[in-house]
Structures are given as C-alpha cells and as structure tokens.
C-alpha cells in the first residue's frame, strides 16, 4: 500500500519535474488558492439578481425539470399547501419529515389528518418532506445537507419529494450556495464543518437509458413539489 502510494507519487514527479517536488514558491500559491477558493466566471443569467428576479428565474428553471411550485405567504400556510398537493396527486396524507428546525416550526397541528413521522424514512414511506439549506436559481437546484437534522435517504427513498423552501434561501449560482455554507459553518476544509453528504437535486429522478426516451422515477422520487415560503423573516 505504502509502496503503491510512494511509487505513484514518485512516477508523477518524474513525469512532471524530473523527480522533484513542487517548489516552495509554487506551494505557497497553491495554499493560497485553496485558502481563498476563488470563484470563476458566473454566467450573467444568475449573477447579481434582485430577489424578485432570482425567484422568477428559480421558478422558470424548476418548471423546466417538471418540478411543481406553490407559493405561500408564511409557515402557517405550509400544512394546507402540502395537504392540497397530496390530495391533488391522489397520495395518502402521510409523510416522513426531516428532523429539521424549520420543519419543526411548521404548525402541522392545523391539519390533524396529515400523519407525519419525524426522522429518516422507512422503505415503505411514500412521501418525504425536507428543507434545503439553499436553492440555486441558475439551474433550479435544491441543496440539502446530511446531519442530525437532515436525512439524505429522505431525498431518495420516497416516491414523492416535497420541499419547504423559504424564499431567502434562494441564491443565484452554486458558488453562492457554497459561500453561504462557508459563512454558516466556517472553513469547509475543516472536516467538522463539511457535512458528510451534500445533495444538489434538480428535479425528479429520471433515466433515458432505454432508447433515449426520458422516463421519470428511475430509482428516486417520481415527482417533486416545492412549497416556496415568501415570509422574509425566515432565514
């Protein structure tokens, strides 16, 4: 093992620099590049947009990938919005809910018929409800984190993925989503700050492996629905 490691590194150095290591001045540049992690070119589509344009772009992009969106004013409207959606899809009023602070703050008791189970999903659960850390307007993408308050399997096992998204969590490009995570957690080069799993999800699961015909629900959710909460007091 050590032999393989040393030989591979030795072979690389032989090919690149007649056997020598990266010189100290280069090494300082490489360290600085990692420390500053500069963002590259951000497409105009998603750069420097105000809130209304961000949300408009986000909605347009998610619709392109067949995700549906319902806008509500506040967290108090979320239970009704989800119950209505489940009814419209002929789904049972049952769901696994991520053990997330935002979702804990939703007044679920307004809809007593909605049967909820907090925590990771069982393989038989048909609906999962999650809250993304951020959402990316450029591509209509949800960014979801693993951890004590987020179950990654909830994004994949249930047939229906419901996402509760405060409007302020919508950013322009993926680079801004990483910046928010760095601001919230500290340097991500420190393993304690970087979640085990960061899922970027753009629409429902799909495949085109048979004759290039797109079919939804290959392995993950067949449908995805976003409840966008406009309340600006929600972080």
């Amino acid at each position: 093992m050590i032999a393989a490691r040393d030989q591979i590194l030795h072979d690389i150095r032989n090919s690149l620099r007649s056997g020598s290591r990266v010189p100290p001045e280069t090494e300082a540049q490489l360290e600085a590049r990692l420390k500053n992690h500069p963002a590259g070119l951000i497409p105009r589509r998603s750069a420097g947009l105000d809130r209304a344009s961000l949300l408009a772009l986000f909605e347009a992009q998610v619709q392109m990938v067949t995700t549906t969106v319902a806008r509500v004013k506040s967290l108090a409207d979320v239970p009704a919005a989800i119950a209505e959606y489940l009814t419209s899809q002929n789904l049972p009023a049952e769901a696994a809910v991520a053990p997330d602070k935002l979702l804990d703050a939703v007044p679920w008791s307004q809809r007593p018929l909605l049967k909820l189970k907090r925590g990771k999903p069982a393989p038989t659960d048909q609906v999962g409800i999650a809250a993304p850390f951020a959402a990316i307007a450029e591509t209509g993408t949800m960014m979801l984190l693993s951890g004590p308050d987020g179950a990654s399997t909830l994004n994949f096992l249930p047939d229906t993925h419901v996402v509760v998204l405060p409007a302020r969590r919508v950013v322009g490009p993926m680079e801004d989503a990483w910046r928010r995570l760095r601001e919230a957690r500290g340097p991500l080069s420190d393993a304690a700050n970087m979640p085990r799993t960061v899922n970027f999800i753009t629409g429902p699961s799909r495949t085109a492996d048979i004759e290039q015909k797109i079919e939804m629900g290959a392995h993950g959710p067949r449908r995805q629905h976003i409840v966008l909460v406009e309340d600006d007091s929600l972080a």
Binding site: T202, H219, G220
Partner: protein, 474 residues
C-alpha cells in the same frame, strides 16, 4: 476486460451489418447532439467556461502530486481511507479485501468506468460476492453479459425489444403475461427489483466525477439517483477513481459542473450531484459507516509531461462520441475495450499500448468535430495523429501500407518529379475514365473501389490549373 481493439476492422464490419444496432444508433445521432446544441445556446458564456475548465484541469495536472497528497490528508481527517493502486489487479484486491472484512455477500454499484477498466465484477463474482449494477443501462448490460457501448449511456446499442426479451428471460419470478412493451414498464420493473437490492446490499461502490482536494470530497453526478441509494444504505461506501479526477476547490467543481451535463445530455444540470466527505458522522440520521477511496493510476502518471497529458483533462461527458461520424456508424463495442469513440481512440492506446490498439487512432475521418465539442478542449485529432506516428515508427502498420506510404513520401520530397508524375497520372486516368466519369476498380486502389467508385480526374491537376490562372471551377 479483455481488449478486442485489434479486431476493430472486423468488429466495425459486423456492426455496420447489424440492423438492430443501426436502428439504435440512428436514435443516438438524432438525440444527443441536438440536445447539447440547445443547452449550449441557452448559455452565452459557454465558450469562456470551456477555456476556464481547461485551465483548471491544466493547473491541477501540473501540480497533481501536491493536490493528491492534500486530498488524501483531507479524506483521512474526515474519517475516510485512501487506497492507492498502481494496477487494475491492485485495485481489485483492495476492493475485495474491504468486502471480505465486512463479510459482504452482495454489493450494489453505481456506474463507474474505472470498475469496467479494472474488470471488478468478474473478480468479485469469482470470489463469491455478487455485484449488482444499479444504473439502469448498466443493469441491462450486466444481465446480458455485455460491456457498455457508451460512457454515459451504456445500453445505447439496444432497442427496447431487446431489453424486454432480457427482462423476461431473467425476471422469471414475475408474471410472464405482464406488459413490457413500453420503456416506462421496463423502467418500473427494474426499479422494483433493484429497490430490494439497494436495501439488502452490504457494500456500495460508486465512481467519482470529481475529487476535491480542499475538502477530501468525492462527487458523483447521476440522473437516476441510483448512486445515492448505493452509497447511503450499505455499511460502507467505496469510491473508485483515477488520479486525474482531482480539482482544487468546491468552486472549481461548480465551474466544471456547468460544462458536464450540457455537454453530455444537454441538461443544464444533472438531477443528482452529490458531494460525499468521509463516513457517517456522530449524530447523523443515515449514511455509510465506512468510506474508502481507491485511487487508480494504471498508466496515467506516465502520460504526464508527454503530448498525451491533455487527455487527462477528460471529464467523461461523451460529447466526442455523440458527435463522431465513426462512432455513430459502428457504435461503441467495435472499439473493443472500455472507452469508445474519439476519447477511447486516444485513451485506449495510452493505457494499453499502441501495439494491440493501432486501429483505433485510425478510426477517424479527422473531421475535428470531437475537439470542437469537447468541454475541456482536448485536441483529440492531434493526439490520434501522434499515435499514427508511433504506429509508423514502431512498424506496426501492414507492409503494403508502409511500402505505399514510403513510395509516396519519396516523390513528395521531390516536388518537381511529383508534379510531373501527378500530371501524367491525371491525364492517363482522365482519358481512361472519360466515358463513365469514374472507375469500378483500379489497381492499387482496391481498398477504395471495393465499396465505392473512384471518380476519374478531369485531365489536369489542381496545381496546373492554379498556375494557369484558373481560380474558380470551370
């Protein structure tokens, strides 16, 4: 997997006569290029993003040893393990020993070209462990005991009737009268069967689209979500990756992700892009208990510092093969090994040597389309030309071709003689072929006239016409 690249010519011949394959390829030619074109047209910065992607990868390759060491440190700090493998045999043994230590009976697999390169499934099977491919295309070809014919659409060579036939043959516990004509029904059936496999697997193996030095993270990109169920549910997540998958930071990954799906399937972004760092943490609700990365060299370190270094920028999007007239005519299996199309015509000789693979860099019209669509701007035709030169230097091409080229070179170095002889040849052939305007067959040109007519010259050479002042077609 055993290479049959030395039989490219007969492989290609068979492929051209295979009706079902031709039907499937027709769909490919109509599908991918158009989708890519639309996606690119929606992003005006695409060309600048290609330059940026190329520069990021060039920067990494020039400092690869440093980034690899930093990457390893960060994987370890996050509780994961990096295993270095010089050869496919070393990589296979590492994976097997992880599986054995965990008492694994079945492993699920996300799509990984490295797994194909090291022929992992055969090795696991031979040692009593059942590998289950979970990408729909990979699952289909695993059932059919076939190799992938495309790096992102492994079953692109099949039509739905063939998939239906295979499912009926293998899924014998299901109702034989069930309807399976539409892709939708086939997808649903595979989903149902593979869901049980995901839940039962002991180890999950995925590939990696990127490895991030800054954080010790591996990234996979899928549309189905199979790679996520593969890595989240079992006891251990094993990542197979080659050295050159490294990028410095999360921002660099974000920059290249903009290019990847657009070039591949014409999506702005694939459905699932997943960043995985180490095993499940204390307090996590789910996730694998162990995290391992197998880093494979297999000849790549030797490409650094050579004319073939640029090949290591490849992000495996498949755009080159989707736009290649040769791939589009013969499909992926004709290339005889893991990597088909233009990228395979360069990578296969790079990893296996030119001796048994010399036909591949010749399987090109040099139309240049591959380079023009490559998100990493890899000069594929130039590198194929380099391999043709090596083929010549190593005297690997047939004697007749070498003699012919040698004779041509003799005259080409003597321009006056060349022009004189070309003028004579043009007049003689022009006179002989005047009546029909073309030849059914010509001595020394059988390779051409066996399959098509050779047009007869019209009496004078281009050089003669140019010198006498002709500037337009008469």
């Amino acid at each position: 997997m055993q290479s049959t690249a030395q039989s490219f010519k007969s492989n290609a011949h068979d492929a051209l006569g295979d009706e079902l394959l031709q039907k499937a390829l027709e769909k490919l030619r109509a599908g991918f290029p158009e989708k890519r074109r639309e996606a690119v047209s929606r992003l005006p910065e695409f060309e600048d993003l290609r330059d940026q992607g190329r520069d990021i990868k060039n920067h990494v390759l020039a400092n690869l040893d440093w980034y690899l060491e930093r990457y390893e440190d960060n994987v370890t700090a996050a509780g994961g393990h990096v295993h270095w493998a010089r050869s496919p045999a070393e990589a296979r043994d590492i994976v097997l020993s992880i599986c054995r230590r965990l008492g694994a009976r079945t492993v699920t697999k996300g799509k990984s070209m490295i797994a194909e390169e090291i022929a992992l499934n055969d090795h696991l099977e031979a040692n009593g462990i059942v590998p289950v491919e979970t990408d729909l295309g990979e699952y289909i070809i695993q059932l059919r005991h076939e190799a992938p014919s495309h790096i992102i659409a492994p079953a692109i060579h099949l039509v739905k009737e063939q998939v239906e036939h295979t499912f009926r043959e293998v899924h014998t516990n299901l109702d034989p009268k069930r309807l399976l004509e539409e892709p939708r029904a086939l997808v649903a059936e595979a989903r149902q069967i593979l869901r049980e496999k995901f839940l039962a697997a002991d180890v999950g193996i995925t590939g990696a689209n990127f490895l991030i030095a800054e954080t010790g993270t591996s990234v996979i990109v899928t549309n189905e979500g199979n790679g996520d169920l593969t890595q989240l549910l079992p006891k251990a997540h094993v990542v197979l990756a080659s050295l050159e998958k490294i990028v410095p930071t999360l921002e660099d990954a974000a920059a290249i992700i903009r290019l990847l799906a657009r070039s591949a399937t014409g999506q702005d972004m694939s459905v699932y892009t997943t960043f995985s760092t180490g095993p499940r943490r204390t307090g996590d609700v789910d996730g694998p208990g162990e995290y391992h990365v197998v880093l494979l060299d297999n000849g790549r370190s030797a490409l650094l510092g050579t004319v073939f270094q640029d090949m290591l920028r490849c992000i495996r999007c498949g755009a080159c093969m989707n736009h290649c007239p040769v791939y589009g005519a013969v499909g992926g299996h004709a290339y005889g090994w893991v990597y088909p199309g233009p990228m395979g015509a360069v990578l296969t000789p790079s990893l296996l040597g030119i001796e048994g693979t010399r036909h591949l860099p010749n399987a090109s019209t040099f139309c240049g389309k591959c380079e023009s669509v490559c998100p990493m701007k890899i000069p594929l035709p130039k590198m194929m030309r380099h391999y043709r030169e090596r083929e010549w230097e190593k005297k690997l091409s047939p004697r007749a071709a070498r003699l012919g080229l040698g004779a041509w070179a003799f005259f080409a170095r003597r321009p006056r003689l060349y022009h004189a002889l070309a003028g004579v040849a043009a007049r003689v052939l022009g006179a002989l072929g005047r009546r029909r305007g073309s030849f059914y067959n010509l001595p020394l040109a059988g390779g051409w006239t066996a399959t098509r007519d050779m047009p007869a010259p019209q009496g004078r050479t281009f050089q003669e016409m140019w010198r006498s002042g002709v500037r337009r077609g008469a």
